[in-house]
């Protein structure tokens, strides 16, 4: 050894969820080369699913053994329940996304790489969820982003897939640059990278309101806003969601949003408590903008994927209300909200994927006609997801919105509650529009002949949708245990 590096003690357990996914990805790359072509699809999907399942188990164990959050590996990673719960949500979304991918008509030759990238994207997100320095923040963000750039463009037979990947790459690169620049400014102001230390230095040197620090904070929020697809950083969302293969869209809409919002909450609360007066208002404004843009633009969409993309923007708005509340109830609200939201989001895109395969063309409101009656399970699931997005009871979406509004009320912002309720009222039009399209318009009206024969029996997809349905409805009845878990996780943050 010429150069002796001091390696810090490594807490492998804290890294276990990430490692499970990394291993699954690596295995899949080996399989890509060695495995017979006809076995690749099932085998690599199973390996990837095992990776995500392993990540869930590891994260669950981590959750129960990390009651007191602390930094590990030279304090670049925070081992706490917040990270563990987020990892569980991400990995759950990943599992559902695999189920959605399974019968996606993709060419066989890149299928192993597809699942490898999916696992790595998940690994990057899980890593990012526990990042506790600006460096690991950027590392995790780029890690999953690069995987997603490729995933968006992976289906070369799909018109628009490549364009989606390129668009995401360019705009995502811009977002990353903002984040990096913001990190540099914050480092310049405080001289520290660790979230907790930044707060301590600001406190000790009375840096609150420092121009460098505030500019850095603003750029950080912007950079994370890109990933959470919050307005005004949302422009890429509809195009990318529409162009990317539907299972990838499903995964992005749930997992990327989850990790981006959790990290936003973590960094704002741990690194910038002194600037709370500034960032709560900023986040509230971003939330309102997202609600306005998402809901109003969704009203006029004909394509279902675009509509769901705008709907995901509006949900970023709802969840940012919880972040803006800057209280323990808000943290709880965000983490609870993410659970049904992720399930509904992946589930809805899974149904879209099923219809896409049936018709062999993009799904619009018009060609959904009669779908609810033809495919009862998928129809009723889609109806539940739409009702859940709209915040109707008997879905977790209702309780999530209730908690978000309760958090805003506790912060003393009744106006934000009113904005959220107005947005909900607007959103009813397009969510119920999907139900109207599926059930209330006869299919004959369209003269749209399905490809022929009875619809394919996609058992994997149907069980995926059923699982999403169970989570959506189950989270309504099991509020108490879920909120308890969310409360424990939010307790990792210094509110």
């Amino acid at each position: 050894m010429i150069l002796a590096l001091d390696t810090p003690p490594i807490d492998w357990f804290a890294l276990a969820p990430t490692l499970a996914l990394l291993t699954a990805g690596a295995l899949n790359l080996i399989l890509a080369v060695l495995w017979p072509r006809s076995w690749k699809r099932p085998t690599t999907a199973v390996v990837c699913a095992l990776g995500f399942a392993g990540a869930i188990v590891a994260a669950a164990l981590l959750f129960s053994h990390s009651a007191d959050g602390h930094g590990v590996i030279a304090d670049v990673i925070q081992r706490d329940r917040l990270g563990a719960l987020t990892a569980i949500i991400i990995a759950g979304a990943g599992l559902l996304a695999i189920g959605t991918s399974y019968s996606e008509p993709m060419a066989d030759d890149h299928i192993a790489e597809y699942y490898a990238l999916l696992a790595w994207a998940g690994a990057g997100m899980v890593f990012l969820a526990s990042a506790s320095t600006l460096l690991t923040l950027f590392l995790g963000l780029e890690w999953f982003s690069i995987s997603l750039y490729i995933l968006c463009a992976i289906d070369r037979d799909l018109a628009g897939s490549l364009e989606a990947g390129l668009k995401y790459l360019i705009i995502g690169g811009f977002g990353s640059a903002m984040l990096l620049f913001g990190s540099a400014l914050v480092y310049g102001a405080t001289g520290r990278l660790e979230f907790g230390e930044i707060a301590n230095v600001v406190q000790a040197q009375n840096l609150s309101g420092d121009a460098l620090l505030v500019a850095g904070l603003a750029l950080l929020i912007g950079g994370l806003g890109f990933k959470a697809s919050a307005a005004p950083f949302h422009m890429w969302t509809p195009d990318v969601y529409e162009g990317a293969p539907t299972p990838v869209t499903a995964f992005m809409s749930a997992a990327t949003k989850t990790v981006a919002l959790v990290v936003t909450l973590r960094i704002l609360v741990t690194a910038f408590p002194q600037e709370a007066r500034l960032w709560t208002v900023t986040i509230a404004v971003i939330a309102c903008a997202s609600l306005a843009v998402g809901n109003l633009a969704a009203l006029v969409q004909k394509g279902l994927k675009r509509m769901l993309a705008y709907s995901s923007i509006s949900h970023a708005g709802f969840m940012l209300i919880a972040v803006a509340s800057d209280n323990a109830l808000g943290g709880r609200a965000l983490l609870y909200y993410l659970i049904p939201y992720s399930a509904m989001s992946v589930g809805a895109f899974a149904v879209v994927a099923a219809r896409e395969r049936e018709l062999n063309r993009p799904v619009t409101l018009d060609n959904l006609a009669g779908f609810g009656w033809e495919r009862p399970l998928l129809g009723i699931s889609m109806m539940t997801f739409m009702l859940g997005f709209a915040g109707f009871p008997l879905t977790g979406g209702f309780v999530g919105k209730f908690y978000v509004f309760a958090a805003a009320y506790e912060h003393g912002w009744i106006w934000l509650v009113i904005v959220g309720l107005a947005a909900t009222a607007v959103s009813l039009y397009y969510y119920l529009g999907v139900i109207r399209a599926m059930y209330m318009r006869p299919a004959e009206e369209l003269q749209l002949a399905p490809v022929g024969g009875s619809p394919p029996r996609e058992l994997v997809l149907q069980s995926t949708v059923t699982a999403a349905l169970v989570v959506t409805v189950g989270s309504f009845f099991a509020v108490q245990p879920l909120i308890h878990v969310a409360k424990e996780a939010a307790a990792s943050l210094p509110f």
Binding site: F392, L394, V399
Partner: protein, 483 residues
Amino acid sequence: MSSGWLTTALILFPVAGAILLWVLPLRPFAVGSTALLFALVEVGLWIDSVAQFDFSQPGLQLDQRTSWFSDLHVSYHVGFYGFSIWLVGLTTVVLAAAIGYAFWAGRERPRAFYGLMLLLTGAIVGVFVAQDLLLFYVFWEAMLVPLYVLVGVWGGAGRLRATLVFVIYTMAGSLLMLASIIVLGLSQGTFDLVTSGTNGSDWIFLGFVAAFAVKAPLFPLHAWLPEAYRESSPEVAAVLSGVVSKAAAYGFLRIAIAKFPGPVSEFRTPILVLAACGLVYGSLLAFRAPDVRGVIAYSSLAQMGLITLGLFAVNDLGLNGAVLQMVNHGLISATLFLLAGGIERRTATGELALLGGMARGRPALATVLLTAGVIALAVPGSAAFAGEFAILAGVFQTGWGYAVVGAVAIVLAAMYILRLISAVLHDRVGSAVPEGALDLRPAELGVVVPLVAILLVLSAWPAAITERSFVGSAANVVGRVAK
């Protein structure tokens, strides 16, 4: 089985029926009969709950409470008061009649249809027994979803527009109510309706009033009403006007009046004026309506105005009369809508100009329609007369002007009901009435006659409800409920 479980069973039993229908691949006939069986057993469950209810006790009975999520103090809390038990009875009876009617008339996609009807039953019962604000809201919204689909799928040609307007109106009101619930519940530290105290905030009060006034509907928030009542199938219209509107009146009583004594006295005059306007305006529109459903729909608007008058009189007579009239009007309008459905089946139209002369050779139809009509126009001695008289006497104590308006409206009611009866039953035989149009079939009679029979019983014995809704002074009980 502890008595609280009975209340829960009243909610869950129809829901279980709905799930059963959706899961089991039954044949259409079996689906309809199973649904009817569930609806009738539900009526039986209600009778059992009446038997177990002690009408001499003022407090909450047959109650059950389990924490739902503890950090915000929300619980599953259900139970009965005297007045709510009658409304639950109305719900179970009307829903059973509606399901029976649909079974007879036949509906496409029966599993979905009857499942939704049973789900709706559970949701409406839930609204009447919920004793937690958030739970109330949950049932309130759960009521909207099946209604939306029922009108939107099985409705007439204009159903899409009708559902859209209906949903926009009701949700605008409901979301304001949700804002009120959040603020009220969090500021009081509990969402429980029984343990929480009264509140003096005008804004919170108005949020609740918005939701109830839209759903009732109260003039001038009734724009959704004519289309929704015209475009839905007859049994759904019967449920909408007979039962769902009563959920709104119940909300006025249980939440707006009981929890906000201050704002009630402050806003009583505008609400009473709007109710009186609705009463007269609805009656006039009913008199001018060109079709059977229009008459019933607008008379429903008028009757809800009258009930609101009684409620916001906030005295013994007014409240007792309002509860009685809620049950009366629920039964009457359900009967009339189901009869309208029967008439439309025979003539393929509801236009009064094309109808007429149906009494000749159809004695059953004539008798039932005439009986229901006579009760609806509040002939002395009828149940509706008792209800309306009590309401007018009650509101007279608040201001004689309202009572005068109410009395005028009763005259108008006589006019529009008699116009309806004569346009359908008498006059020349209408061009749309086929020679061979049958009299009411036994199945139709089986559905409608029980409703009319209950009305006749109530006519003979209105005290069954008026003396068993509130123990002692009604105003006190509202106060006690509020405690």
